[in-house]
Amino acid sequence: MSQRTRISRVSRAVKLLAYALFWVSAIVGLVSLIGVVRIGDTTTRVVSAYGAVAGPLFMGICWHVARLSKLYEEGRLFTADNVRHLKWVGRLTLLTAIAPTPVPDAQTESIGVGVEFYPAVVLVSLVLLFLSWVMDEARKLEDEAELVI
């Protein structure tokens, strides 16, 4: 099996997984939204509100990963579109690191909303943004190399 075929097959699998996660999180987000609107319980509303914030962020990540995988499947490895999708994955990952999350309080037996700081997720997002920058520079080098006759 050639390298290109291997890249295409793995990219197709990643693309299908990302699309599946996108639609699952869309359904979960919709259910959460219904929970916020229709169920009066405060705890459920807080948890549902978290789903309403984190859900779209996760959907965005899945969408851009799916589009990136589709480009890899087509054999387009270092294009401006690849860089753009990778940058968005990095940005959205950074946002999920600071998205509000439900914080349970055992004393009052309730759930509040807090902002947790996840250093590992921040690091991952920074690495993704750095990789997208390196990929963009490599793409520019390739474009320039094409003008060497």
Partner: protein
């Protein structure tokens, strides 16, 4: 850019088409068109040698240097 490519002049003198030259030297017509139109950033010596061999010319017949004009205020 200060380097001017005059490949089209030599092609006209030799009555040769761009595609024929591309086939003769083993590069694509698109690449040769990039060179002819002045969009190329660099040319390999091997390519220059092949062009000069096929067209029976010197490198100076294909490329020439023209210093960029600097506009100065006249008083």
């Amino acid at each position: 850019m200060s380097i001017i490519v005059t490949l089209d002049v030599v092609l006209a003198q030799r009555k040769m088409r761009l595609n024929d030259l591309a086939d003769a030297i083993g590069i694509t017509p698109q690449n040769l068109s990039v060179l002819k139109s002045g969009r190329a950033k660099a040319i390999r010596f091997s390519t220059l040698e092949a062009i000069c061999r096929v067209l029976n010319c010197q490198p100076g017949d294909i490329v020439r240097y023209e210093p960029e004009q600097t506009h100065s205020a006249t008083g």
